[in-house]
Point group: C2
Chain length 221, copies 2
């Protein structure tokens, strides 16, 4: 245990804010509480952040950045859009499931949606929806595409992955089986049948194993 119980003051603030925001809500959390949790005075927060909104903004970005960044790498692994979709969804699930606190909850809340200066987050999230749409379209059955169209389907798949948020909010942690099920829900919703879903899941698993092996032991982290 060579590390301190926390990192830089900035990281400590973000961690405390994440815990409080996700448990009490953004508007209902005071900057005093955040400061107290870190062990500094309320006014000292303003040295590290311009205000409450900037703390929130940074936290929101952390929920999407890893997934957005992973897309290029995933697409270099496979040409099968179904497998790619599943892998992106899996990354998304993992990011949301393993974050120290359930901050994914926040962006749905109206008080959060009203905060200005979160453009980076909304842009990244929109980009993610477009990616989901692009990958989903070629594997989606005609009746589904006819009902919702590609763009809305993308949004809906993003929402589907955010099922993780609901699970965590219910107090449960997400196991491997559940993570697989949520990611594969994206395929099911496109109209892919159970047999093919299982095939994609297996293909994706072997692909990841190969990639991990190629990246060396560090890939396991």
């Amino acid at each position: 245990m060579p590390e301190r119980l926390a990192g830089t003051p900035r990281e400590q603030i973000l961690d405390a804010a994440a815990r409080l925001f996700s448990s009490k809500g953004y508007a209902a959390t005071s900057t005093r509480e955040i400061a107290e949790a870190v062990g500094i005075r309320q006014a000292s927060l303003y040295y590290h952040f311009a205000g409450k909104g900037e703390i929130l903004s940074e936290l929101l970005c952390q929920t999407v950045r890893p997934t957005v960044d992973s897309v290029a790498q995933i697409e270099s692994l496979t040409d099968d859009p179904g497998v790619a979709l599943y892998l992106v969804a899996s990354t998304d699930v993992r990011t949301l499931a393993t974050a120290p606190y359930n901050i994914g909850l926040l962006h749905l809340a109206p008080d959060v949606a009203q905060v200005e200066g979160c453009d980076g987050f909304t842009a990244a999230r929109d980009e993610l929806a477009v990616t989901y749409a692009r990958l989903a379209e070629p594997i989606t059955s005609p009746d589904v595409l006819g009902s919702v169209g590609p763009a809305r389907l993308g949004e809906k798949l993003v929402h589907t992955v955010e099922e993780v948020i609901g699970c965590r909010n219910a107090g449960r942690r997400i196991g491997v089986d559940e993570a697989v099920w949520i990611a594969s829900s994206c395929l099911r919703l496109c109209g892919v049948d159970s047999a093919r879903v299982e095939l994609v899941v297996k293909t994706a698993a072997t692909l990841l194993d190969r990639a991990d092996a190629g990246a060396g032991p560090a890939g396991r982290q």
Copy 2:
């Protein structure tokens, strides 16, 4: 247009609160704003409600009551659990989609989850999850049941229907096609294939037509 632009003061307050809560968030909405929207003074709210929390509680209950109440009637229409599941989901979708404001958003927000005295709502919502689970289990494919189990599947179907909330939150209204798709998503997630989904949707539609005809013109509302 024989009605006044609003009903009783109590209803006016609930309507204004619903609009403000769903757009700004619960904690971020002041009782002053609610009163102002109704055209009375802030203190006058306390004649109609014990406090801010009681207004919220009533609004939350309105989002689940119609669906919970419809279950018995739906189960008297059919013995096919798949059709019943689809009909319950459709009722749920309709309730969430046609409410004057998107109050379904609220229960997800942490500031709302913290409010005491919403037991009626949480109990009704839990009951709904159990119903979804009971109807879904017999039609769910083994691989899906093996991954998540019936109870969690019930929760997940509730969340699936709540996709409506996300749609409305994105500023879109829910069309018929989209409503059908969301309700049938419950079947797809259980592992039901596209052909059978379409069959269930058609069966449900004819069942409803018959029920409406039996109930007389009032059934159309």
